[in-house]
Amino acid sequence: MSRNSLFWILWLIITLGLGGYLSAAMIYSGDRSNLLIGKTTSGHHQIELSCNTCHGNGFTDEDTIQNACLSCHENELKVSNDSHPIKKFRDPRNADRLEQLNAMKCVTCHTEHKPHLVSDMGMGLTLPKDYCFKCHEDIAKERPQTHQNLSFDSCATSGCHNYHDNKALYEKFLERHADTPDMKLTQLVNNFKYEKLSEEYGGLKRGDPLDKTDANAPKEHLNDSLVDSWHQDAHAKNGVNCTACHQPDKAQQTSEKQTWIKKPGIAVCASCHKEENKSFLAGKHGMRLNPSLSQSKSDPWGILFKEKKFTPMRPELARLEMKEAAHGTELTCNTCHSVRKNNHKFNLQEAKVEACLSCHDDQHSKAYLTSPHYKLWQKEIKGELPKGSGVTCATCHMPRVEVEDEYENIIYLINHNQNANLRPNEKMIRSACLSCHGLRFSIDSLADPKLIKKNFHGRSTFKIESIDWVLKRSSKAEETK
């Protein structure tokens, strides 16, 4: 065999081998980080190796990607009362608009693997600046008093408009809240009001309150300290006994021989706390535990590749600054709700501040301890102020909200998706700020990045004119009546 032939054969073997490996990695498994074509956005980086979640089998069309976006984000859009839902653009009369800007596809504005396009507005995703102009170029003609000579890229950067969520920015809302004072007389956050309603709903109640002597764990697993803390906890008060979590199948009589689970995991919590779990898995703390995601798939025969799930999120994997001491901590329910003190009193109070600050180390988080909000929280804990007076990390980032459960009952629960209320930050106006502050004060404060870094210690140096413009327009309309 000639030397040339040998080289050809070698080339063929290497090409086929490499091609086969990459194809198999793309479709099934292997180290897929080599296939990433660019850094993913902060919303997706934790799960970027679950390629199939967005790309299907790797050879799919735009619809597959669109459906993937909606499978995770559709509900958020519904909750935000999306101002530009896809259904608005289905009418054929919008065909010319869609030719300019395909508003039917999320990826038209929010593309992935292109870090150089990520918005500088702190949104954590790609976002063009000129999308409003394509349909609303006549706005200066329509509203000459207020919108004349405005820059085409200022609509969404000025603190006035968002594409999706305008629940706290729409004209009538601004008009109605124009005169609310910066500091309201009664300052109680929604959390408190909703907590009461949540208790009344009683959806998680499993039975009558249990006494210490009712604890049904086998003797070898019982001790006074554990029983005491369990008895003081909401679980005992709502009829949840030891075996409900430590031998769930036995408790539900689906298995006679289930052994004692020493540390019940997220699945056990989720068997009662369904909606909380759903939101936890949708946010950055829990998305890696979403059962539908995996780092690699199993091949059809389970021989070459095995399915590999993601490990729980750990602070060192985050892109925000995290405390070094927290590195290695896996995020599950117990990480924040604590069995850290080796007892059964699941903490709700510490989960609102201490748990967050045990990992988060960015400027905004650190500044919280010097903020007026923290002082109020301290006074609430000490009983110097009524319940609901304090503002915690959770008040803004994991608020108690009104949602519909799977049976369309209205329930009030803590939204464990920390991202749901985060960006654009005007989302927090209704769920948090307005409980205590006026709308002007809130909009101005949220528009000031320096004030946000200082965790609202001080006053905004920004003045957003939207409310004044609305009032100008309404008074003009009154005059012409």
Partner: protein, 194 residues
């Protein structure tokens, strides 16, 4: 004789069979009747206009204006109120658009409160002008949108209840403040892809 009877029976049976087949054929002819696009849009419009009238009169006018037990508001979510008839109509149209591409409909006007509901295509403009100039008549035409051909029908949307006129005349964004009962306020556009 018996042969004759048998032949007669056979003849009769064949006759009955043929008759049945003819009847079936004529029945299937009825089933296979095709409709002109204009007939389809007329039927769709009849349903849409009737539902719109019922909602306006039996729900909004009765509960909000007559008995005053609930308000009707453009900001119905925040006000915990009834959606306005025009909003109700749009929600229906968007829900239909989510489910089928076989037809679509919208409500537009030469004097829209929301400027996005002004006529956009030539047919929409012609249609609205025609139904305003020819009271009680509909407009039919064809147009190409996004490379697809559509049969487009425009039907007059008439002020059938006092709240329609009141709201439109008093809204701060209205370009027309002198609507009267019975006026054509806008048009319902129904499209069928051809």
């Amino acid at each position: 004789m018996s042969n004759f009877k048998t032949t007669l029976k056979k003849f009769a049976l064949t006759g009955i069979g043929a008759g049945l087949m003819l009847t079936m054929a004529s029945t299937s002819q009825v089933n296979a009747k095709t409709f002109e696009p204009a007939q389809v849009t007329d039927m769709l419009h009849l349903v849409l206009a009737s539902d719109r009238e019922v909602y306006t009169k039996k729900v909004v006018k009765r509960l909000a204006n007559k008995h005053k037990v609930i308000k009707a508001s453009e900001f119905f979510e925040d006000d915990k109120a009834l959606p306005l008839p025009a909003q109700m109509f749009r929600f229906g149209s968007e829900t239909v658009a989510d489910k089928t591409k076989d037809f679509s409909y919208s409500l537009i006007s030469l004097w829209p409160i929301n400027k996005q509901n002004a006529p956009k295509t030539d047919i929409e403009k012609k249609g609205l002008e025609f139904i305003n100039a020819n009271k009680g008549k509909n407009f039919y035409g064809e147009e190409s949108l996004g490379g697809k051909k559509y049969f487009t029908a425009v039907y007059p949307d008439v002020a059938i209840a006092t709240p329609c006129v009141g709201c439109h005349n008093n809204h701060k964004d209205t370009p027309k403040k002198d609507f009267k009962m019975g006026d054509v306020m806008g048009g319902v556009v129904i499209r069928i892809p051809l």
